[in-house]
Amino acid sequence: MSEGKKTQKDMMEEQMKQFYSFVESMKKSMGLPMVPDMKTGQALWVDQREVTLKFIISIDKIKEFFNALADGKLLGTKCKKCGEVFFPPQKDCPKCMDSEVEWIELSKEGTLLTFTQINVKPYSFAHYDDYIVGIARLPEGVNVTAWIREKDPSKLKIGMKLKLEIVKREPENYYTYEWVPVE
């Protein structure tokens, strides 16, 4: 994030703040959270209840993956019976109806399959600068989606080599992984 520059999140929040202060002023004068649509004047009721969504997700069967990230390793899983490699990791092989699936360390090299830059960001990502997301193939035959450390999409080429780095995502401060172009 660039210091001093307004992020998309700042702008979204300013806009919402303006709107809600307008709602409050309407409430004060009418006693109701009723506002006219800015374009058409149609009557709108503004919800007086609010809900926050923050999920708590079970990862016990694949917790090794997350523990390994802290050691700088990228893990996948492999079925002992049929040999299929899974990324994202999963502990069940649906083909073999079996849970004889073991952890393997994946190589951190990839070939770029495709990419995009996210310019209009979702609210929960609006505090970041525009970021590039790519999908690259590992020698093990599985693909990994991640951010690519590059600001300009025109500098990337499908087929180019990338290296995977385990990084701390800031400002949230948790381990994840990122593709880095190989010079």
Binding site: M12, M16, F19, D37, K39, T40, Q42, L44, D47, I57, F87, P88, L113, T114, F115, T116, Q117, I118, N119, V120, K121, P122, Y123, S124, F125, A126, Y128, Y131, V133, I135, V142, N143, V144, T145, A146, W147, P153, I158, R169, T176
Partner: protein
């Protein structure tokens, strides 16, 4: 195979920002149209399938809210979700319960009220419609972002350009301008599209379908009832469906939608249409152009063009009226609008009226063989539903 099933009534509201009505009021507009079109009353409808993606709208049980308001209760109902293909899934289920002989008449109602939430919330919800934990949570993909991954790969492999993509948008707006139910009724130029800002590089604002409110309805009946109700029943000749991976990284190609390709093959087989060149038989199609690139992929997945040659259909304007096969004469998702859960029934309602020669004259396809095709994709090739309609009774 069950009984023959025909469409006997359709309804389609004006799409757009519909702040003039709440959710059940909007649904009622489409339901009322469909009932009047079929010459039926609420009591005749034996089961109602409601398609709605939701999340951004306030009512968590839309099927019941709508059934109560529209006088369809106490008949049975259910809400279905197949993302942007929810509407075609609803028509498939309505079709199936009639085909099975369980009921004589059923209705599919599509409803989406996306403008009940501010745009950032809607962008957030649609971005999560892939694989939440492995894609969205860490990497913040958006809906345009997912299709941009396909655009980058397709452009690289086949030499398509951003101008080519804009030409798709120009066609959508050309026909949207002729459809009074479309969200956008203004023509655009390639220059205007090219000058629009990036939403998810290389996709720009004019490559993207909008946030839309809308409702649609389709009434289906078995052969006996259909023949009593109308002289021009529109038969459901075949439905194909398939599912892609939730996580895009697990796909083997980014230049076609595998689920769309598979669903097309199944639908053609069921309808008895020659897969070598379906454009010989199909008079008109609605394809899922949530983004311009998606329309080009659809041409190829549906075998309207060979792999890599979908972009040629665009350059040669072969999908306008008078070309090889007219596509999205409604304006498509791009210009008519994309109210997620209502889009599928919207395509099928549009095609029903195309086959009946009942749409506005300057966007009416010439109906020669009496076949039409609706290609409806949910998510980014997560769900695929293809519905083939016909004026002639299917041979079973």
């Amino acid at each position: 195979m069950g009984e023959n099933v025909a469409i006997v009534g359709v309804g389609h509201t004006k799409f757009g920002v519909r702040n003039d009505v709440n959710m059940p009021e909007l649904a009622w507009e489409a339901i009322k149209q469909a009932l009047m079109d079929a010459g039926l009353e609420q009591k005749d409808i034996e089961y109602v399938v409601v398609s709605n993606a939701g999340g951004w709208s306030s009512e968590p049980l839309p099927a019941v809210v709508i059934a109560e308001y529209s006088g369809l209760a106490p008949k049975g109902t259910v809400r279905v979700e197949a993302a942007c293909a929810s509407g075609s899934a609803a028509v498939k289920l309505a079709h199936d319960i009639v085909a099975s002989g369980h009921v004589d008449i059923a209705m599919a109602v599509g409803i989406e009220k996306m403008n009940e939430s501010p745009t950032p919330t809607v962008v957030e919800f649609i971005g999560r419609a892939g694989n939440y934990f492995w894609e969205f949570h860490n990497f913040g993909l958006t809906f345009p972002g997912y299709y941009a991954l396909y655009a980058t790969a397709y452009m690289d492999k086949y030499g398509a350009t951003e101008e080519d993509l804009c030409k798709v948008a120009v066609k959508s707006h050309y026909y949207g301008a002729r459809n009074p139910k479309a969200q956008f009724q203004k023509e655009i130029t390639v220059e205007k599209c090219m000058a629009s800002r990036y939403i998810a590089w290389p996709l720009k604002l004019f490559d993207c379908s909008p946030i839309t409110d809308g409702a649609t309805a389709v009434i289906v009946a078995n052969e006996k009832v259909a023949k009593e109700l109308t002289d021009t029943p529109v038969w459901i000749a075949g439905i194909g469906h398939a599912t892609g991976t939730s996580n895009l990284s697990k796909r083997t190609t980014f230049t076609s939608l595998e689920a769309g390709t598979l669903a097309a093959e199944l639908a053609y087989k069921k309808a008895g249409i020659d897969m070598d060149d379906p454009t010989k038989v199909i008079d008109v199609a609605e394809v899922h152009d949530c983004f311009t690139i998606a329309e080009i992929l659809a041409y190829e997945d549906l075998r309207f063009a060979k792999r890599g040659e979908g972009v040629k259909l665009v350059r040669e304007e072969q999908t306008y009226i008078g070309g090889k096969i007219p596509v999205n004469l409604s304006g498509g998702l791009k210009a008519k609008g994309h109210p997620i859960g209502a889009t599928g029934e919207g395509m099928i309602a549009e095609l029903t009226n195309q086959l009946r020669n009942k749409v506005e004259k300057d966007r009416q396809a010439p109906i020669k063989n009496g076949y039409a095709l609706a290609h409806n994709i949910g998510g980014t090739g997560h769900y695929a539903y293809i519905t083939i309609l016909s004026l002639s009774k299917p041979r079973r």
